[in-house]
């Protein structure tokens, strides 16, 4: 049962947009114990960073896991340049604390950008647990909207917003959330995954209604095993390690301001890395 695995094959790869790809990876030990909210660490090769990515799906029988990655820098672009049949040198996990799935009533899932992919398994699990699930998906434009069909299948209702109005309603996810409150929807729980700034505003929007709200944080991580403290986030005035205590936390207690600043810690390095990658590959990846 416990077989050493030296490398991890991409069984299937699918491009969801110019900059977003889905990878199905053979990693039976991870598939075996994966739960909604878990994440994995990916390393393409020996020189790579350890990149944390939330699991989108898994199949215990086939021994596969699914991740969806948006190219936002060198490492993610490097991963998305991989093809079916290529190997990751390392995939580690499942890591983090899974989401506690139970019947609470009405659950609103709010995903932004590639966060839609990470929201999917959580929304699905809450649906399977007998909840009414309303999904709000936000993207910058139509091309960057992913998993609409899949999310629809596991949701009682789906609301879509785009920044430029190219699909769904023009606006941001909190506009759609406000509509739900305004029409008198009784919301028992909100889960949000996406850009930090979006999650911060979701937390601000649900706070006056005292709706329990959980945000999946994405601080800089290194080992992701609880050892380095790089992913420390302030929750309720105390430091927590997102890698082992999270990444999902009570959004009303998270210090988003501190985290927004901390996520810029290596900005110059990331820009340098990306520039060299683009030069080498003679390309320009679509950054926001």
């Amino acid at each position: 049962m416990y077989k050493p695995q030296e490398k991890y094959e991409i069984i299937e790869k699918r491009d969801l947009s110019d900059v977003i790809s889905e990878h199905i990876i053979y990693a039976p030990l991870i598939a075996r114990s994966a739960k909604p909210g878990h994440f994995v660490i990916l390393m393409k090769d020996n020189n790579s960073e350890r990149i944390p990515v939330t699991l989108v799906d898994w199949n215990k029988d086939k021994g596969t896991i699914t991740v969806i990655i948006q190219s936002i820098g060198k490492s993610t672009a490097d991963i998305n340049s991989m093809k079916k049949g290529d190997f990751f040198l390392n995939v580690s996990g499942p890591l983090g604390t899974p989401v506690e799935v139970k019947k609470v009533g009405t659950v609103v899932g709010i995903g932004g950008g590639v966060g839609i992919a990470e929201l999917y398994p959580i929304a699905k699990a809450f649906k399977e647990a007998g909840n009414k699930v309303i999904s709000i998906l936000g993207a910058r434009n139509k091309d960057l909207l992913i998993l609409e069909k899949e999310t629809k299948e596991i949701s009682d209702e789906i609301l879509i917003t785009t920044d430029d109005g190219s699909y769904g309603k023009k606006g941001v996810v909190t506009d759609a959330l406000k509509e739900l409150y305004e029409r008198g929807e009784k919301i028992d729980s909100v889960f949000t995954i996406g850009p930090l700034i979006m999650m911060k505003f979701v937390a601000l929007a649900t706070k006056p209604h005292s709706t329990p709200t959980y945000a999946s944080l994405n601080p800089i991580m290194l080992d992701a095993t609880g050892m380095c403290g790089g992913c420390k986030v302030e929750v309720d005035g105390k430091f927590k390690f997102a890698c082992v205590d999270g990444p999902m936390f009570d959004a009303h207690k998270v210090n988003f301001e501190s985290l927004l600043k901390r996520n810029n810690a290596f900005k110059e390095f990331e820009e340098q890395s990306l520039k060299e990658f683009e030069k080498k590959h003679n390309c320009k990846i679509g950054l926001h």
């Binding site: 049962m1 416990y2 077989k3 050493p4 695995q5 030990l29 991870i30 114990s33 660490i41 390393m43 020189n47 790579s48 960073e49 350890r50 060198k74 490492s75 490097d78 040198l89 390392n90 995939v91 580690s92 996990g93 499942p94 890591l95 983090g96 290194l222 080992d223 095993t225 609880g226 050892m227 380095c228 403290g229 790089g230 420390k232 302030e234 430091f239 082992v244 210090n255 501190s258 600043k261 901390r262 810029n264 810690a265 290596f266 390095f269 990331e270 340098q272 890395s273 060299e276």
Partner: protein
């Protein structure tokens, strides 16, 4: 080869050759260059071959020191290295990182008059020579006995368990959370103190002996302790002390504040010093401050120095005399131009509007009454606050055990969250043993290895008695 007659105790103790202090701060190559054959034979000639063997008795694993030095002097390296292996493992590692000045070399009868024999450097020489000349044959393993043992972590304690039990015919699987093996040897100790080929050699040998290594699995998260306890006949926990202690001052979330674990992992495991060839960045800025007085603080300061900042300053709340770091490493750090502010502690970290560290508010200390550790307790001097400019501060003020296993199983721990074991390494759960830093809370490679050997014997005893009861 020409060599002095033995014994020649009055020859000067040889401290070994070192890379030039200025040159070496520009690279991550090994600092201590050790001995060549002639130097080794000359140092070996100094040994009196004492009948009562004080060095051997002082060694936690009782390495047969006079005997291995005698074989070395006779230029029989093969016998010499085998002598070491009779009671120890990994001599190329221990010869480098073991605090000999506290053990064997402290007990050497030559210490006061002529200077102790350089036992550590001789051990390293013998081990390196044997490795480089393919003199180390894989140990014979007993016939497979069909019993399965899991080791949690691949640091020195687990590697020792794996080596000992595989020799006895057990089916051993080592689980490592990270992507490379060696635990603290890999992520903690810098290459300039422990070249990676030495770790690789030991892991490769264990693989050749048939030990299974599984990377990327975090026991307590990816798989629970209860699960592997069910799937294996016995479990050894050697998960180390990898939880960093925070400074506990305001401003800890500023950019530029690292734990020593993060800083050293970025450099040692992820090779951040080779950015952008390697993707993981490491930032030091112009002014680096390191807090702490142990080996980890010295490693952090010396790694930082090699990334070419303007200055590296170590803050320690006691004096040089109380520093827990090895004397050799403190001297190396001083030679490399690292500054020390003794009797100094940080009280607040101040940042700019972007959340980057700007300066450290410090306070001077004085030594008061002895505390529970027997050392005089540092007491802040009122009104002595001052500022040190800093872009980066690295907290190296201690580690406690990785808490994941304790949090996810009903295993007994003490108030420091260390696993509680008996003298054989047995924990409160039947069939589960532990050793190294997860029990000791931050000790040495040698003691971890010793715990591993003890636990391996206990596991063997436990499983043999269990199987014979069945029959």
């Amino acid at each position: 080869m020409n060599k002095p007659k033995r014994p020649s105790p009055n020859l000067k103790r040889n401290e070994g050759r070192h890379q030039d202090p200025v040159e070496r701060t520009k690279n991550f190559e090994e600092v201590a260059l050790g001995f060549n054959m002639e130097e080794a034979l000359t140092e070996a000639a100094r040994c009196l071959n004492c009948k009562n063997k004080p060095c051997e008795l002082a060694c936690p694993v009782n390495v047969k020191i006079p005997e291995f030095i005698t074989s070395l002097y006779q230029e029989d390296i093969q016998s010499s290295v085998l002598k070491i292996y009779e009671t120890s493992l990994f001599p190329a590692i221990c010869g480098r990182v073991c605090p000999q000045e506290e053990y064997c070399e402290a007990a050497c009868v030559l210490k006061d008059k002529f200077g102790s024999v350089s036992i550590g450097r001789l051990e390293r020489f013998v081990a390196d020579y044997a490795r480089k000349n393919n003199m180390l044959k894989l140990p014979e393993c007993d016939k497979d006995n069909g019993l399965k043992v899991a080791c949690v972590g691949s640091g020195p304690a687990s590697l020792a368990v794996a080596a000992e039990l595989r020799k006895k015919g057990y089916d051993v699987t080592v689980f490592e959370a990270l992507h490379e093996y060696g635990g603290v040897l890999r992520y903690g100790i810098p290459t300039f103190r422990l070249p990676r080929e030495v770790i690789d050699f030991e892991v490769e040998n264990l693989k050749k002996m048939g030990v299974k290594f599984i990377k990327n699995v975090l026991i307590g998260k990816s798989i629970s302790l209860d699960e592997i306890r069910k799937d294996f006949d016995a479990v050894f926990i050697g998960s180390g002390a990898g939880l960093p202690s925070p400074l506990g001052v305001n401003g800890e979330d500023l950019i530029g504040v690292y734990s020593s674990n993060e800083f050293l992992t970025r450099i040692n495991l992820m090779k951040g010093y080779k950015f952008p060839e390697y993707d993981t960045p490491v930032y030091v800025g112009k002014k680096v401050v390191v807090v702490g007085g142990g080996n980890t603080a010295m490693d952090s300061a010396r790694c930082a120095k090699r990334l070419n900042p303007e200055s590296v300053t170590v803050l320690y709340r006691r004096t040089k005399a109380e520093m827990p770091a090895r004397a050799e490493e403190i001297e190396n750090a001083i030679e490399e131009g690292i500054k020390f502010e003794f009797l100094t502690a940080p009280v607040e970290l101040e940042g700019d509007e972007k959340g980057r560290l700007k300066r450290v508010k410090c306070i001077r200390m004085e030594l008061g009454e002895p505390d529970s550790s027997g050392r005089r307790k540092p007491v802040p001097i009122k009104g002595s606050e001052f500022y040190i400019e800093a872009d980066v501060i690295i907290a190296a003020i201690g580690q406690s055990p990785n808490p994941l296993i304790q949090q996810t199983s009903k295993i007994e721990t003490n108030k420091w969250n260390c696993l509680v074991v008996n003298e054989k390494g047995q924990t409160s759960i039947e069939g589960v043993f532990a050793g190294g830093d997860v029990v000791r809370g931050g000790a040495t490679v040698l003691l971890a290895m010793k715990d591993g050997k003890t636990a391996a014997n206990a596991i063997d005893e436990y499983l043999k008695s269990k199987t014979s009861n069945k029959n």
